[in-house]
Symmetry: C2
Subunit: 190 residues, 2 copies
Amino acid sequence: MSRWEPNTRERLLDAALDLFGERGYDSVTVAEITERAGLTKRTFFRHFSDKREVLFAGQELLSRIFAEAIADAPASATPMEAIAAALTAATAPFGPQRRERARQVKAVVAGHRDLHERELLKLATLRAAMADALRARGVPDPTAGLAAEIGGLAFTTGFARWIAPGSERAFTELVREALDELVAATTTLG
Amino acid sequence: MSRWEPNTRERLLDAALDLFGERGYDSVTVAEITERAGLTKRTFFRHFSDKREVLFAGQELLSRIFAEAIADAPASATPMEAIAAALTAATAPFGPQRRERARQVKAVVAGHRDLHERELLKLATLRAAMADALRARGVPDPTAGLAAEIGGLAFTTGFARWIAPGSERAFTELVREALDELVAATTTLG
């Protein structure tokens, strides 16, 4: 990021989400986003490969954070402890100021089939990253795959609760709670 | 299906898979598939919306079979018993004669990013169908979501073993075994 364009990524994101909310995702162009942000198209494409990636770019970073936190968990950590550490690491940066933006992203994605599909794919990538990181720690299958699925469910459940209307609790607290509930639910499967 | 075109769907499927294997998925046209099958394009489009759906059309049916089997499980069935019944119902039609075709489909899908993404989406649909069917039986979340994830993992794991080189065991036997392993693995999460 250049010194003379502070917070460009944030400004592009805010401009895009405002425009998507005002006029609908489909009708908004990259040129309009950059105009609203007071930046150039060239700057836009230094941050995002296309308009759609404004909504999903953060998920690449998320997969990396998950994988690294699992790798960095103490050798003595159980699979669920490693997943819990990853959920904490991945959600800790999402303070209350990020909640409203997350709600805006979700509203755009939910109303659009292609975007919803893209989100499902990113979640599949996230689960695969977790499973691979667990296998690299020596966790065998099917435990590694199962732990990753539970981690993915805890993340989406916690996220839904975090962005729910009126929600005020921290994202990290909500994903950890969802994880605890899922682990408890493993005894109710019959 | 018209009386004078017996097994049209199967003939189209065989022709398409043979051509995909010979020349690669991308370069094969619907016209070539219908020519190889000795049928018209109009007949093709009565069975499949496009070339890609030749590879995935069966998965829609699969979601329906899963959901119906879960709905039809005895009222006393636990979530896992309902999932087990669904896995049995969904895989029972896949006898040894279907295994080679499944291998061909998998080979085409694995070599093609767009097709792989489509497969992940169909799997997400399958899991959602199972979770919804469990909720309709009164299974609460997070148990319903968790049971559906485990059912999805059992299905993909059993499928991978079924189409593995040299594999001779029945698909149903392999998915049920994978399910048992996953349920056992719930105690190894820590």
